[in-house]
């Protein structure tokens, strides 16, 4: 894998460029704040993106472990899924990696017949983009679940009082992972 060792050599500058392009999707005043990564608690967005892309890049070099990569993508997508972006904008952060790698390795690619390896890598990156799409959808679905759960939580006692719930087994409503208004503390009385 000649490409891998080249990528390892260029890792720092590739990541720096990748980070910058992502940060530039934010308004200029925000971008200058996000670039300062000294304190991950003061700047969780910038730090998470920075850490996330490094982890993803390392996975690419190692050969993707789907589960791990998915977690790293999740860290970034989860943030962008609730920020001021359209879905395409939110997920736009993956693709520039292809261009950056080609730019960084321009001379090497031309000289050393790397195009097969590059193509394989690029299709891995496309795969990342597709996984990101799944993650994005899950995040948005989660938001709708949370809204529904909040309503259920705030009305549970009231339903109970209105005697709509048959309180026999003394359990809390099962709010996680259920989309319909299913109340586990008992059945809703007919």
């Amino acid at each position: 894998m000649r490409l891998n060792s080249l990528l390892t050599d260029k890792k720092a500058s590739i990541l720096e460029k990748w980070f910058d392009v992502i940060i530039e999707t934010y308004p200029p005043d925000t971008a200058s704040f996000l670039k300062n990564r000294n304190n991950s608690f003061a700047n969780p967005t910038g730090s998470t993106i920075s850490q996330g892309i490094e982890d993803i890049f390392d996975e690419l070099l190692r050969g993707l472990n789907r589960e791990k990569t998915s977690q790293f993508l999740d860290d970034i997508v989860r943030i962008r899924a609730v920020q001021d972006f359209t879905p395409s904008q939110a997920l736009s952060f993956i693709f520039p990696l292809k261009r950056i790698i080609r730019e960084e390795l321009a001379a090497e690619i031309a000289g050393k017949h790397l195009s097969d390896e590059i193509l394989a890598l690029e299709s891995e990156i496309d795969g990342l983009a597709l996984s990101s799409f799944d993650i994005y959808m899950k995040c948005r679905e989660k938001i709708y679940d949370i809204k529904a759960n909040e309503v259920k939580r705030s009305t549970f006692r009231l339903l109970q009082m209105a005697n709509l719930i048959n309180d026999t087994n003394g359990e809390e409503p099962d709010l996680e992972g259920s989309n319909n208004l299913k109340i586990k503390r008992g059945e809703v009385k007919k």
């Binding site: 879905p87 904008q89 949370i146």
Partner: protein, 538 residues
């Protein structure tokens, strides 16, 4: 008017996602879906006799404003500049040093520059300059002044309902400029035009008429308590019989109604009931002062005052000596910062003295209202409670300082002291995210609606990020706090950001640990889940 959540095809084909570079003064607010709350309904504004009541929607182009809306706003500003010296000062003294710029959770988590506190203030300050300063009148834009146009009005509305009045920014401002107070004035101005949100104005109307946010009547409140009492009996074998509206009780107990109706606040309410029973406290609940929360504070000074007065009127009617307040956040900003000026001093009450320890609560000399965390910390300090912290061994707890109690009144150490006594595993979040520098839950000041969930998640991210850190490093699985809004909203925020962390109130943990006289051997915690050791023994 609200932007849909999709890109147009021609936008998609342009791969350049860089946002345009334009001055903030010239960029009107774009009302993005899932970031703003629905408009107030006429019927709720009419109940409290607010002006310009009508049904309206922020998403519509036409806000159905009164003809002379501009005049109303400018008069309103003038009036408040005269009335509140702090407002005048905050309009004048900002040197735009930028120290506050990156301290707001909405900016940190969302990235919209207009959520930088300095810019949020500038939205209103630019109007102040234009109409109330000589330089602004003459030099206009060069002096940072601008006309009050319809776009500008909408922009102020949009961003003043994206500030939780948490005051984090003010901690970092060398001049102590408090954006929370500027936001309060901004929202007062909006209320002159009937531009409150539904999520705030409905609880205000309900509280005004019935005494609590949901508008529940006495029998409903008493019924709800029955469920807790049954659960407590199941857990401890003890049947507690609290009193309601009892004249001549020594103490009136007031807590946010969320503790009675929304999990996980309900477990905290069970904790109060158990504690007071064990102490044999001469106290009563009221079904009229049945709300510690005060959404008036998110509306206007006047409205907050009217709602706060109801608690004291009830204390007077019942003839109690003093008041204990439950785990609420903004209730305490009201009591600690404003009550005395509005409705105080409460001379008909007595200076609070703990009947158990004899401690005099001098800090409550004028308001006569003691925070339950102070009350309980004092009990523990004086060795009056028998506690078994091992019953919370299944929980690895971290502490969220609620903005209002921490920054607003300095309750920092009392809850930590209680925590250390009722549980064995307590881990602090990183220094920059706790105590005075605590991060807001992201949904305070009546922003805890559901239609603005994206905004709430952005605002909640910095807090959640710190929780994630203690989860990863210490296995933390419980986020404790003393605020009813936190208990509801952090639950949502955790579900999104750190799904394996639950949320609880301080007195839920107290209730778990409290060894009560005559109790049976406990096998369940207040959530009716098996205690870990007991499970292991079986």
């Amino acid at each position: 008017m609200a932007t849909k959540f999709t890109a147009k095809p021609d936008e998609l084909s342009k791969i350049d996602y860089k946002p345009p570079k334009k001055g903030w003064l010239d960029t009107p607010a774009e009302f993005k879906e899932h970031t703003f709350c629905w408009g107030a309904k006429a019927k709720n504004l009419n109940i409290v006799e607010f002006p310009n009541a009508r049904d309206w929607s922020p998403a519509e182009e036409d806000w159905k404003l009164p003809e002379n809306w501009q005049e109303i706003v400018l008069e309103g500003i003038k009036d408040r500049l005269g009335k509140y010296r702090s407002f005048k000062l905050f309009m004048d003294i900002c040197v735009r040093c930028g120290a506050c710029a990156d301290k707001c959770h909405f900016f940190i988590g969302g990235g919209d520059p207009k959520n930088m506190p300095v810019l949020r203030a500038e939205l209103l300050r630019s109007i102040y300059r234009k109409y109330f300063t000589a330089s602004g009148k003459m030099l206009g834009k060069i002096a940072g002044a601008r006309e009050l146009t319809l776009d500008v009005l909408k922009e102020i509305w949009y961003y003043y309902y994206q500030c939780t009045e948490c005051r984090r920014c003010s901690v970092f401002c060398p001049y102590g400029i408090d954006q929370a107070e500027i936001t309060m004035v901004g929202r007062e101005l909006m209320n002159l035009l009937g531009l409150n949100t539904d999520w705030i104005s409905a609880p205000v109307a309900n509280c005004y008429m019935k005494g609590n946010h949901l508008g529940l009547e006495p029998h409903t409140i008493i019924n709800s308590m029955e469920f807790f009492l049954d659960d407590i009996e199941t857990i401890t074998g003890i049947k507690i019989k609290p009193t309601f509206n009892r004249k001549g009780a020594e103490i009136l107990f007031v807590t946010p109604s969320g503790d009675l109706f929304a999990d996980p606040g309900t477990y905290t309410a069970m904790g109060y009931l158990m504690l007071f029973h064990e102490l044999g406290l001469d106290y009563t609940w009221s079904t009229y002062a049945s709300e510690g929360g005060n959404f008036g504070l998110f509306t206007s000074n006047e409205m907050a005052k009217r709602l706060n007065a109801k608690i004291y009127a009830e204390a007077k009617r019942l003839g109690v000596k003093w008041i204990i307040g439950g785990e609420c956040g903004h209730m305490w900003r009201v009591v600690n910062q404003y009550m005395d000026t509005w409705n105080g001093p409460a001379d008909f009450l007595e200076e609070p003295v703990s009947p158990i320890t004899g401690t005099i609560f001098e800090n409550a000399k004028s308001t006569k209202m003691v925070h339950i965390a102070e009350f309980t910390a004092d009990l523990i300090k004086n060795g009056k409670l028998k506690l078994d912290p091992g019953r919370n061994n299944h929980l690895k707890v971290t502490w969220h300082d609620s903005c209002n109690t921490a920054r607003g009144m300095g309750i920092l150490d009392e809850p930590r002291y209680v925590l250390r006594n009722v549980c064995n595993h307590f881990h602090e979040m990183p220094e920059d995210t706790i105590r005075e520098k605590t991060f807001c839950c992201g949904s305070g000041t009546g922003l805890n609606a559901s239609e603005n969930m994206d905004l709430r998640m952005r605002g909640g991210f910095p807090r959640a990020n710190a929780v994630k850190y203690v989860r990863n490093n210490y296995g933390v699985n419980m986020l404790a706090n003393i605020c009813a809004i936190d208990r509801a909203t952090l639950k949502a925020s955790m579900e999104y950001w750190v799904p394996d962390v639950s949320v609880c109130g301080l007195h839920e943990l107290v209730g778990n640990a409290l060894v009560m006289t005559g109790e049976k051997e406990r096998t369940q915690d207040l959530r009716l889940e098996p205690l870990p050791e007991k499970e292991a023994k079986e």
